[in-house]
Symmetry: C2
Subunit: 252 residues, 2 copies
């Protein structure tokens, strides 16, 4: 039984465009949800600029602290794409051209002007790496050790995650149930704490909102154990109703 | 003259809901854009779970590495709101009730059921802290040393940022110009590198896209110097056109 072991991942988002506010990141949420389906918990995210030393330092911190490390961004053909070089530097290995990545690029660009030196940059990997399939654009993702190097463009990252689905060892996924309630969370703070304390295998998160001029909150119950999840959810509904607050479905 | 000094900030996003993928973060982009208007560069973002030790470690790393540290999330009244306690722990100071925060909560809740023990949690601050105004909900943000503690709900964080506008010392804002082009970025990778190298005070980022069945890229030129920005932009347009690619406005 490995039920009690929690598998964790770090995520490193690489790119000046996120830190400047120009681009709204979409990869944190999609990697998080995908990891949960694999039974792996996203444990930390870092966002760093396009700078080799900064990327390498974050890679070394996050790969040591977690079972897996995912990165997004910086694997294109231009001068601001530094991820492969930075990760090779972090690992102390050279950058090499991967023959199968080169072949994939040659196939993809056969009708698109051929493989140039710039395009060949997308076939470079840290020595010892394997490829992650990417049918959409020819440039593959990369796996090296416990590091998974994905594209920054969200729909390409999605395809790479799909190629990895079911292939990573994980534990039990975190299950969740959400209850909505038209109550100020401060009115039920004690109640939430007591219900959570009565269910050591479950956690309750409280997320306030303002809708139609009224305050309310969604309460998210999380557990890896389905029976514990349901017991905690039922207790929470009962406690809210005893306090005079109707529990409804999640308020989106 | 402090023109050459670059002021930096770290951002710590606190919350299980971001790491589970339940909630799409909106604060990284808004804090990034606001910081740039203040002449401060967002240098790193970390996202950590609702866990005191994890928050405290990240706070100490980011406050030491940057001129300023901003945090979002975890300052509400419920048991999963741990930011104040974690930051006090990181600073080695006790948590105290701030009299003016207490008065603000009393005023806000006078017609909303009064200040309960749970609500009073929102008046707790690390010793030595000042408040950041929040007219919208009574619960203020907090400044302690170089740390700015903001709400996680994006529109409340916005109000707290507005209260800080123009009050932090910064350098010159990063200016940017974006050029769109219907070309695969790999075709112009050498050209981009050469133009960037000719303008040491400017950087060029390349962001590919797929629209209407065609590939293209936006090239973002950034500089703190308006003349350098314009010179680099003009050179890039000229180089693209000499290579047979029409430069257009940013493709959204």
């Amino acid at each position: 039984m490995t039920d009690e072991r929690i598998w964790t991942a770090g995520l490193l988002v690489i790119g000046d465009e996120i830190l400047s506010g120009r681009t709204q990141d979409r990869n944190v949420a999609q990697v998080a949800r995908w990891l949960n389906l694999q039974g792996i918990r996203l444990n930390e995210v870092r966002v760093v600029p396009d700078a080799i030393g900064r990327i390498a330092d974050a890679v070394n911190a996050l790969r040591a602290a977690n079972d897996y490390l995912f990165t997004t961004g910086g694997i294109g053909p231009t001068h601001d794409d530094m991820t492969v070089e930075a990760i090779a530097h972090a690992l102390g290995v050279p950058v090499v051209v991967h023959p199968r990545a080169r072949a994939a690029l040659e196939a993809y660009y056969a009708t698109r002007g051929g493989v140039t030196e710039a395009r060949l940059r997308m076939a470079r990997v840290p020595e010892g790496a394997e490829l992650i399939e990417n049918p959409t654009s020819g440039a593959p993702g990369i796996r090296v050790g416990n590091i998974f190097i994905l594209a920054g463009v969200p729909h390409i990252a999605t395809v790479m995650l799909e190629a990895l689905s079911g292939k990573l060892e994980g534990g039990r996924p975190v299950l969740s149930q959400t209850i909505g309630c038209w109550v100020a969370e401060s009115e039920v703070a004690d109640l939430l704490r007591q219900v959570e304390a009565a269910h050591p295998g479950a956690q309750i998160g409280s997320y306030p909102f303002f809708r139609e001029g009224r305050v309310g909150a969604n309460f998210v119950v999380r557990s890896t154990d389905e029976a514990e999840l349901e017991a905690c959810r039922a207790d929470l509904v009962r406690a809210l109703e005893q306090a005079g607050h109707e529990a409804v479905r999640e308020v989106a």
